[in-house]
């Protein structure tokens, strides 16, 4: 049995469909799970068919959950200098973090909104394919040592490019730090601000009724093949308000047809020609 046949078994027996993930990457992830858990192919098949808990762990393991507080620190000035000014005038605005992993980027986003006094206007939604990651995102408790440098890097960026004159953030407003246990815990007022749900982008069904001003989807679609990528870009296009923006990873870009449907400005992709373009 090769990995494609296995993905078919997974698809037939569980809600998860990885068949349009990029071949090499899904193969590599599966091999890693098999090796890490010391499984035989037989075990894998059996557990996939009858052990729901195993499948949930498998999904968590084969998806990539790399994220950091203020990951890519240079990204954030783009967000607060270029994007937020266009939203300030609205009564409310909606932001979706698609593929939010453990939520570190979601909370980084919330901190910036709060510094600008925009937290009350913002409605924040976050989704991830993995139930475990949804729990982590709701919990907002991370390794401190790992994130300490990240915060320091962001502080450097903030000094260079202040948020509306703010060049220093008092992070104790947002986190309780427990150095002894290596934890940095997001405070409740931020956590309760986020609507976190389990959702698989591959299903292409949108889990929300409202449209969005901003969709963060960073380093998620790189694991999909080109045809699935296109479907997701189409879905995001449909879910954005006119002039809404996607924010992709630093080394993701649109190709072909979709290039004309979004205006690129660094990592921001702003929806254009909305009315020419209907979902089929």
């Amino acid at each position: 049995m090769d990995f494609k046949q296995y993905l078919q078994v997974l698809k037939d027996n569980t809600p998860y469909d990885f068949s349009d993930y990029s071949d090499n990457s899904i193969k590599r992830r599966l091999q890693k799970v098999i090796a890490d858990n010391d499984l035989t192919l037989d075990d894998l098949l059996k557990k996939t068919q009858c052990d729901k808990g195993f499948v949930e762990r498998l999904v968590e393991d084969i998806t990539v959950n790399t994220t950091e507080l203020f990951r890519d620190p240079e990204l954030w000035p783009v967000f607060y200098e270029k994007l937020l000014p266009t939203l300030k005038g609205k009564k409310t605005f909606n932001i979706w973090h698609a593929g939010c992993s453990s939520g570190m980027e979601v909370y980084s986003n919330l901190i910036i909104l709060n510094e600008l006094g925009l937290l009350d206007k913002a409605r924040i939604y976050a989704t991830d394919i993995s139930a475990g990651m949804v729990r982590s995102c709701k919990k907002g408790s991370y390794r401190y040592e790992f994130n300490k440098n990240q915060i320091a890097e962001f502080e450097k960026v903030l000094k260079k490019t202040p948020i509306n004159g703010i060049s220093q953030i008092d992070f104790s407003k947002y986190f309780d730090i427990d150095e002894e246990n290596d934890r940095i815990n997001v405070k409740e007022f931020l956590r309760k601000k986020v609507d976190v749900r389990q959702h698989d982008l591959v299903q292409e069904k949108v889990p929300f009724y409202n449209k969005f001003d901003v969709i963060f989807c960073r380093n998620v679609l790189i694991y999909f093949n080109a045809s699935l990528q296109s479907k997701i870009y189409q879905m995001f296009h449909n879910q954005l308000y006119p002039k809404g923006s996607m924010i992709l990873g630093n080394h993701e870009s649109l190709t072909g047809f979709y290039k004309t449907k979004f205006l690129k400005n660094g990592p921001l992709y702003t929806k254009t020609n909305a009315f020419h373009f209907k979902y089929q």
């Binding site: 090499n24 790399t66 790189i222 080394h251």
Partner: protein, 190 residues
């Protein structure tokens, strides 16, 4: 149709390799026809600047590729900071932020191994100076697929752990100084 003898060059390096790569690219002939795929370790928080500094001296265009970007001959591709860089069968790159391998992201092994599977005996793999063993397994994969394996002569390395760990796994086809590597590539009959 004449089948090309080689399709790509892939280079891995760590501590001390920046100046070697920079010099190599400044002396590589400007009509070098193959893609040159480079994976260098960098400090986690020195994320920018590497591509710009390499570009300054290079005779060929230097790119940090995006995910799914087509691989084109005569261009130099540098693994972007904090991503693994993979070569795909359809002649494109893919990127990944999965966990570091050998404590590194980008990992040289990931890039070398993926290139070995795609280009097989039409690949030239080069491992330069470095203070760890990332790249050794990837070079073994290149050797297994009958590609050409070259290590920087440990005597000329700022840190010789990396080429030496390759030599412990396989017998490299060539052990060359940086100048000899440049000459070898410039004279390559492709």
């Amino acid at each position: 149709m004449i089948r090309p003898k080689y399709k790509a060059v892939v280079i891995g390096g760590s501590a001390g390799s920046f100046s070697v790569v920079s010099k190599l690219l400044s002396q590589l002939r400007s009509d070098f026809p193959l893609p040159v795929i480079i994976c260098l370790h960098r400090l986690k928080h020195v994320r920018s600047g590497l591509v710009e500094s390499i570009r300054l001296k290079s005779n060929l265009e230097v790119i940090e590729p995006n995910d799914k970007e087509a691989i084109v001959g005569g261009k130099v591709y540098l693994a972007p900071s904090n991503y693994h860089l993979f070569v795909e069968y359809d002649g494109t790159f893919s990127l990944s932020t999965e966990e570091p391998l050998n404590h590194s992201r980008p990992s040289i092994d990931h890039t070398l191994t993926s290139a070995a599977y795609v280009y097989r005996n039409k690949l030239i793999g080069i491992v330069l100076t470095g203070a760890n063993k990332d790249g050794a397994k990837g070079m073994k994969d290149i050797a297994d697929k009958k590609g050409i394996t070259i290590i920087q002569d440990p005597k000329t390395c700022e840190m010789d752990t990396m080429p030496k760990s390759v030599a412990r796994l396989i017998k490299p086809d060539k052990v060359l100084s940086p100048e000899e590597i440049t000459n070898y590539l410039n004279k390559l009959a492709i």
